[in-house]
Amino acid sequence: MIEGFTALYIFMLAAFTGYEVISRVPVILHTPLMSGSNFIHGIVLVGAMVALGHADSTMEQLIGFVGVLLAAMNAVGGYVVTERMLEMFKSSKEKKHG
């Protein structure tokens, strides 16, 4: 179980990690990066699957279904657009080779 202070430590360390990782990003990558971080919170799909997996009543199943649907769109859409944007970032050297 993740409880109390353990959770607080995880929140704290993850928050610093996110801040540090991003702080060295050049402006040219801001849009792909926003898109990439948008993809990463697509992990909500895992939670939505658990919520639907434990749903009993029809109401719970309906909300759970919508949750999984939305989460899948977040994850897949986020991946596709980020990948498309980053695919185009090439330096002059790479251009000449390919």
Binding site: H30, V50, F65, M73
Partner: protein, 455 residues
């Protein structure tokens, strides 16, 4: 089995952080998203093997439908429309976090008081992010126009917010009555819509970035409710990274976040700025402009969103290559807020094939304008307006700008006479060394190419 699933979640969390790290450099960025994607795929597959779950048919159906729609739309969307697409997918994530909270609240979150509080808080944030992102999408897509303001708007927004929070407190501490749950989500949806309505299109990138960070937080909170460490870590990392990114964008636009959310742009200041623009606009032919560039030793190109709208980036890159063959040094100068969000213009130029090492940002290029023979401004306006340096009355005063006015000659490609996105007259256009090349961006770029070729 449970241990194996936890181990896979752990690996996924590591891959997310490494992926994000790799996305912070142009040379490794492409690998970064693939790593994060691998982590996501592993985590999703592992989730199917969690014991005592049911409804697998519904689960697979929802994943297939959702993935199909997102894949098709994500592959098709034009690069110019990327910001609103990100807003849309982000809203979906917020909605999913809210849905998790809704299911947990209906079932009755039992394992601790903190879990219940965080479920409600995550639900509030996720729902606001959901409806707010949809409004942001509608505005950038052009389905809704500009800033929608009406009398007493701020007071009404505050009232809705207080009512939402009060309802949330009731859920967390008194009772999870179905009617209270329904009212809570309805109020949160309304608040997301109402807080986004008064914000104008120019400030939308900051708002999208903020909603992105909020969705991350909502995911982290719901992760705690479900006791899922991967969700807690990924959500929190995005929450803090997104907050930093929001600050960076707001700073680049010289718009404090509180101004974006609660202030109004322009208003009284723009009238004062118009007065001292003065002078006359001096037009130039494409062929004359081409000569100027063909015999220059250094040309700096300043593209703005107008170039992307005219789909002129391919022609501009062709022009740049022609100039380079004549040993003219060509550099692209990008303002942090060129395009619709920081980095958007880089994506648009990359799409046209411009290598990223020819693209310079504000700090790198500003000292070079004094040695440039020609600054070619295409589709940019406010980001080269010198009143941001000189006129304290101007609404954009203090915003960092590209010092195009310091180049020996300035050529501005512009569709017609008229003020920029913010409605402010541009003093650069009236300067002695500035020439206006009127016409569609793509057509003018073609004429410039013809002009340069003829020498």
């Amino acid at each position: 089995m449970v241990d194996l699933i936890q181990a896979i979640y752990f690996v996924a969390a590591v891959l997310f952080i490494l992926g994000l790290k790799r996305m912070s450099s142009p040379t490794t960025a492409r690998a970064g998203i693939v790593w994060a994607g691998a982590g996501m795929a592993a985590a999703v597959i592992a989730t199917f093997f969690i014991p005592h779950m049911s409804n697998f048919g519904l689960m697979v159906a929802a994943i297939i439908i959702g993935s199909g729609i997102a894949y098709a739309s994500g592959k098709r969307v034009a690069m110019t429309d990327m910001p609103q697409m990100i807003a849309l997918y982000n809203g979906m994530g917020g909605g999913a976090a809210a849905a998790i909270a809704a299911v947990e609240l209906i079932k009755g979150v039992s394992h601790s008081a903190i879990a219940l509080d965080l479920a409600v808080l995550g639900a509030l944030i996720g729902t606001v992010s959901f409806s707010g992102s949809l409004i942001a999408f509608a505005k950038l897509q052009g389905w809704m126009k500009g800033a929608n303001r009406f009398p007493n708007q701020q007071a009404i927004n505050v009232a809705v917010f207080v009512a939402t929070v009060a309802c949330g407190v009731f859920l967390a501490f008194v009772s999870q009555h179905p009617l209270a749950i329904l009212l809570f989500f309805a109020l949160a949806l309304a608040f997301g819509v109402m807080m986004t309505l008064p914000i104008g299109g120019a400030d939308m990138p900051v708002v999208i970035s903020l909603f992105n960070a909020l969705t991350g937080l909502a995911v982290a909170f719901e992760g705690f409710v479900l006791q899922n460490a991967a969700m807690i870590i990924a959500g929190t990392v995005v929450g803090s990274a997104g907050t930093l990114l929001t600050q960076l964008m707001a700073r680049a636009m010289n718009r404090p976040i509180s101004n974006v959310l609660f202030g109004s742009f322009g208003g009284d200041g723009s009238a004062a700025a118009e007065g001292d623009a003065g002078g006359a606009l001096k037009p130039i032919d494409a062929s004359d402009a081409a000569v100027m560039m063909a015999f220059a030793s250094k040309v700096v190109i300043i593209p703005g969103y107008g170039m992307a709208v005219a789909q002129a980036q391919h022609k501009i890159w062709e022009l740049a290559k022609l100039l380079e063959e004549r040993d003219v040094a060509v550099k692209f100068a990008i303002h942090p807020v060129a395009g619709r969000m920081p980095g958007h213009m880089n994506v648009l130029l990359a799409e046209a094939g411009v290598p990223y090492d020819k693209i310079y940002d504000l700090d790198e290029i500003n000292s070079e304008f004094e040695t440039a023979d020609v600054a070619l401004v295409i589709g940019a306006n406010d980001v080269v307006n010198p009143v941001a340096r000189t006129n304290p009355d101007s609404p954009i005063y203090g915003m960092p700008i590209l010092d195009a006015d310091k180049a020996k000659n300035v050529i501005v490609i512009k569709r017609g006479q008229g003020a920029g996105f913010s409605g402010i007259e541009n003093a650069l256009f009236f300067k002695d060394n500035t020439r206006m090349l009127y016409g569609d961006g793509q057509a003018m770029a073609s004429e410039l190419i013809q002009g340069v070729k003829s020498f």
